[in-house]
Symmetry: D2
Subunit: 410 residues, 4 copies
Amino acid sequence: MSRICEIFVLMPPSIYATPRATALAARVRDFVENELFALETPEHLTGLHSRIALLLESKRALVKAAGLWGLAWDKEAGGHGLTLCEFGQISEEMGRTPWGHFVFNCQAPDIGNMELLHRHGSPEQRERWLHPLMAGAIRSCFAMTEPEFAGSNPTRLGATAERDGDAYLINAHKWFTTGADGAAFAIVMAVTDPDAPPHLRASQIIVPTDTPGFRMVRNLPVMGESGDGWSSHAEIVLENCRVPPTHLIGTQGHGFLLAQERLGPGRIHHCMRWIGISERCLDILCRRAVSRSIGDGKVLADQQLIQSYIAHSRAEIDSARLHVLNTAWLIDQQGAATVRDAISAIKFTTANMMLRVVDRTIQTLGAWGVTDDLIPAFWYRHERGARIYDGADEVHITSLAKSVLKKYRV
Amino acid sequence: MSRICEIFVLMPPSIYATPRATALAARVRDFVENELFALETPEHLTGLHSRIALLLESKRALVKAAGLWGLAWDKEAGGHGLTLCEFGQISEEMGRTPWGHFVFNCQAPDIGNMELLHRHGSPEQRERWLHPLMAGAIRSCFAMTEPEFAGSNPTRLGATAERDGDAYLINAHKWFTTGADGAAFAIVMAVTDPDAPPHLRASQIIVPTDTPGFRMVRNLPVMGESGDGWSSHAEIVLENCRVPPTHLIGTQGHGFLLAQERLGPGRIHHCMRWIGISERCLDILCRRAVSRSIGDGKVLADQQLIQSYIAHSRAEIDSARLHVLNTAWLIDQQGAATVRDAISAIKFTTANMMLRVVDRTIQTLGAWGVTDDLIPAFWYRHERGARIYDGADEVHITSLAKSVLKKYRV
Amino acid sequence: MSRICEIFVLMPPSIYATPRATALAARVRDFVENELFALETPEHLTGLHSRIALLLESKRALVKAAGLWGLAWDKEAGGHGLTLCEFGQISEEMGRTPWGHFVFNCQAPDIGNMELLHRHGSPEQRERWLHPLMAGAIRSCFAMTEPEFAGSNPTRLGATAERDGDAYLINAHKWFTTGADGAAFAIVMAVTDPDAPPHLRASQIIVPTDTPGFRMVRNLPVMGESGDGWSSHAEIVLENCRVPPTHLIGTQGHGFLLAQERLGPGRIHHCMRWIGISERCLDILCRRAVSRSIGDGKVLADQQLIQSYIAHSRAEIDSARLHVLNTAWLIDQQGAATVRDAISAIKFTTANMMLRVVDRTIQTLGAWGVTDDLIPAFWYRHERGARIYDGADEVHITSLAKSVLKKYRV
Amino acid sequence: MSRICEIFVLMPPSIYATPRATALAARVRDFVENELFALETPEHLTGLHSRIALLLESKRALVKAAGLWGLAWDKEAGGHGLTLCEFGQISEEMGRTPWGHFVFNCQAPDIGNMELLHRHGSPEQRERWLHPLMAGAIRSCFAMTEPEFAGSNPTRLGATAERDGDAYLINAHKWFTTGADGAAFAIVMAVTDPDAPPHLRASQIIVPTDTPGFRMVRNLPVMGESGDGWSSHAEIVLENCRVPPTHLIGTQGHGFLLAQERLGPGRIHHCMRWIGISERCLDILCRRAVSRSIGDGKVLADQQLIQSYIAHSRAEIDSARLHVLNTAWLIDQQGAATVRDAISAIKFTTANMMLRVVDRTIQTLGAWGVTDDLIPAFWYRHERGARIYDGADEVHITSLAKSVLKKYRV
């Protein structure tokens, strides 16, 4: 059985397109199709990152050679200085395969950590942590979520970082710390000022993973796989970890402010990745539809129910893309603070849209669709979390509504 | 029981906004709120247009006085020369009340007939028909739909216009001819070249409604009302109507080509009107939510299920608006012919979105919502057709899918 | 254009069927199809009950002559002594046309008032009010809903009935009092014991509509029509109405207990009527599907999207019917008190199901579907309230969930 | 983190319950909760059946000792002689854990193969294959689905079984042959009569898996796991396999007739298992809802959005169960042939319902929900196929609709 192969499909021009974004997106798309699609084998789609790690390093070398490394960076950081809206369009292209962002060194959570250190890191922090991250020499993780506290209220936090002499003494139980396995350091969110107002209680502190007391309990088994390396989500414990005060990022007590700052761009990144996933799935759906015979000289594509999947997917993806890009454009114009409603809106609608498109693709593929021979089953499993992480649907729905209602309450 | 009154709610800035469009939209919004909302009484919302006709004429005079007449026209026609994308944003504002477009002389089907005559009418046709239409002195109708033929295939047509001496002899049975009651003339789609290929068989011909043989069978009773005047949909019969050849618009046999030309802008107009309806309903929903007590010091707005209606509506409206405006922008850039997929996509998704928002508003209003005291019940009834006219959902879904699939078929 | 006519379609046998219920249902079905379908003209579907009142009286005479009068009554009341589950199956047949229940004297709110008076009325009350109701000589109404208070908490009530000498002095503002126009009396829910616990505060009291101070403000305009007679929903005011204490039904303060008693059967009646509506619509949908040509020798029924409407409707109706009948069966077995969860479940799911089926039918009928030529548009308008009256969706959803959760809370 | 543990929740009594079915269901429920829930560890939920095989054998011994072995069998076969409707209720209980049916020796495809051999096997076939199956000494598989042909038309088949001397010479390429790994024999559907009408072309033939030419290509990787033993779906090839004519089951050419016979009961089994899964998930959802704090003294269960998940799940499960049990009852009454519409209806509606309930449970569990610590993620992955196998949604939707329409076509 030959595997589904890819061809180039032109998107309609968009008002958000700029010549440089369009040109870069086309180059990234070519790279993704020519270099990365072939990696989507059943072996790579099920199991350990370590199996594919060397291969990915060689692809990263090709990316660097092609001058496509660090596409998200500012000009001063050696990047292209793209706007968020421009980078979003490139991020979509990377999103069409599971390792796209990693190969271009734009993967979460490193991309967010890089942004954070770039903007708020001290010179020493940038030297020691940011530069190797940018070089792709190390990886990092971001330890925020805790099993004991619902994510619906991020200011409820059990982790503590007490000043104890000339160090922070950190105790924490975290989970879903993506990529902790093999990371050089974690950025840990912990309460430093328990008596301050809720949103001023916590700080973000760098904790090298070899700090005594830092322990990875396990890579959480997620949808059939514990994974490893970058492709894993760890449960970790910090027991009396001591780090010097210079490991604090920014101002003490400003942990949530920094976290909010990363949320806007972070959600654009996720949403555009999901749109990439959706486009890829629709492409696979259509290929299958025109090639799968159902007898009497007909193919699946002749069936209205399949056509309905295609039309709804096409319409929903295009609508979502415009909504996300417009939100990115607004962030570029006026900062994330005034665009929170749109950020909430795109988060839950795009995640749900993607999961519908993935689901329709599996349904169209039939029995083949639930196998690991093809990529949709991978996303069906590993993107179900999209409706949960970074704010569950329910959190965004109520917070968007409350914000809308604020104008009406007197 | 006091009626729900309106306040100004700011929309987020959009990439599609231009200074002139924004300025005009704000003026139209003010006019609509200050002059037209008060017309939404139970008496006006149920029944005959003639009850409100004089009142509307006085409002039209105010529009003219304010320099807001003819906002959709080209500069050479004495208008503002707005792009379709710009006018769309103004159309949304008009759409927030049932008589908005009429008062601004931008109502279907006259706006489409004006465009048609402006672009394809002979000097005599423009003199006799277009200019009085532009002045608001007469009304017109567009007779295309026939009860005997499904709208899914517009080239199937029973109406005939045979050359008979120096006249067209027209026979036709049409229905859903909006505004035929009281119109000065109809533009009739009829087969003139039965032996040509399907899309070259029909022509558009002007038939004055006082032509012998032109008969209005009835104003169709639609969702409880037959209406009259502009607010009605007639069943009409043309029996051996004779009109001179000069009444032909454009080239004989080009009826469908002309019809397609109007579809692009026509659907943008409808979609933006539906978005106006949706915004208005969401506004009413929110007002009710914050003011309706449910006991224990709480109001409806404190209920998550109501919040969920609000959040989904907010997200869906914004997404739809961007999709429609981008489609308008594409038509402005490259003409409607290459943008057909997007036009199909916005037609069925926006119509469905609007009906969901209307429905959530009624549900939130509770028993009051099904009464004619308030506007949502009016739209619930009279906009159900949005999923049917101008191409039923099913037609757009399959045609969009087939177009997507075309790239994959080899 | 010929109207859609009806043929007999066999339902699959059901475990709930009994020989007598099946036999009666078949007779009712025949009567409905032969005598009542012909009444569904545009004139009757829009507007005043008075237009059709005489005609309906003649049909009632036929029902009596056929021995089909009073099918819901106990044996001792001269009825057939059917179980609720059996009557439900007959109620579905009546529900297939808008005047079915009325013609069989099983219409709300009279049927509920009859049940109430039969079980809790004093001999005098039964003599004066129940017997003429049973004979169809008078009509009644039930005045519970108030504009000032959300229906979500029925114990919040503004109406008062104070003991004042040898009378109740009643003051109330009610609306959605179905059939108040022309009713001989209202059963009014009013607070008699303001200091009792919430659910023991109100009583049900008979108030003849000619009592001084009883005033019908208006028939509410609902979805385009104010209607009249039985087909109307009034706003009424009771200003210092005085009625003797003998007009109290049952025990003072037991108004809610009596109301709850009627809710179980009342909801079964509504749900089975909605299932009748759904079956009728599906029947109309299928007739249209097989007869409407779409060219190339094909009809609508050949389209998968239409097939999808049919399959989902068929499956959902059958599922809902079994759920409702099982709930009726449970009420027959153990009373309504222990079956409240199921009653909530069927209320909101059946109402939503019906509205989906009505909507699919309109969509399949195309433009014709929104006209008053056919019955679906009537139900689209007048059954939208089904998701609101007798407990809005949101009320049943939360109350069902809370009841389920009760077992888990410790 | 302690794992969610189970308590007994009473279902409402059902009209379909019989004393013996209720008593057996209660015993099976106890067994499942006490003996099997503890097996749901992350290790068992991800990976190889062989890890748990010995443990399951010990549970099977307990089942035999408890007299609960063979609950699906006829009395003459040593079973309880339950009706399909009765067994369905027991099957639901088994379905609440992934290994329930296996432990009770009621697992697909063996239960279907046992039924088939019981009804159509020759005495020798029953001696050699049926009896060891009934004893649980061997396993079997059913090889029907082929990668090259869409399942939408089961009569399109590539496998051939030619008479060649005193043997059938079989060539076939099959996949999704559940449990082929370790099975003693396969029942293979292959074309024996290529010139007969389509539904009389194929036969079912027993092929021992050690027959030369029988080759298991691989256990298909499905949603992250290839599995093994009973928990696997194989791709197999039969290359010139020779088996004696006595291995034919029933009459040559009757393969589809036999297959159809098993479909009715087979779908009841699946549907009731899915209902068991749904009930189990709702139970987990509710436990989580009442125990997960969201701050301010509140728990998830206080949130209306969570309540909405619960209410919809409760209503949908109960509705589906009644639909499935009524279908089973109809099969018991009149055989599967006349109940095909209902069988199609329950197949696609129950599968979709289950997946919605599973999804809501994951959403309520939050991040924990996507881990293999808990059972919902297992079902999310391994029951996605429910909308595909045994007839994809689209197949059942169109076939149900066509059957409904048949009555209307003239």
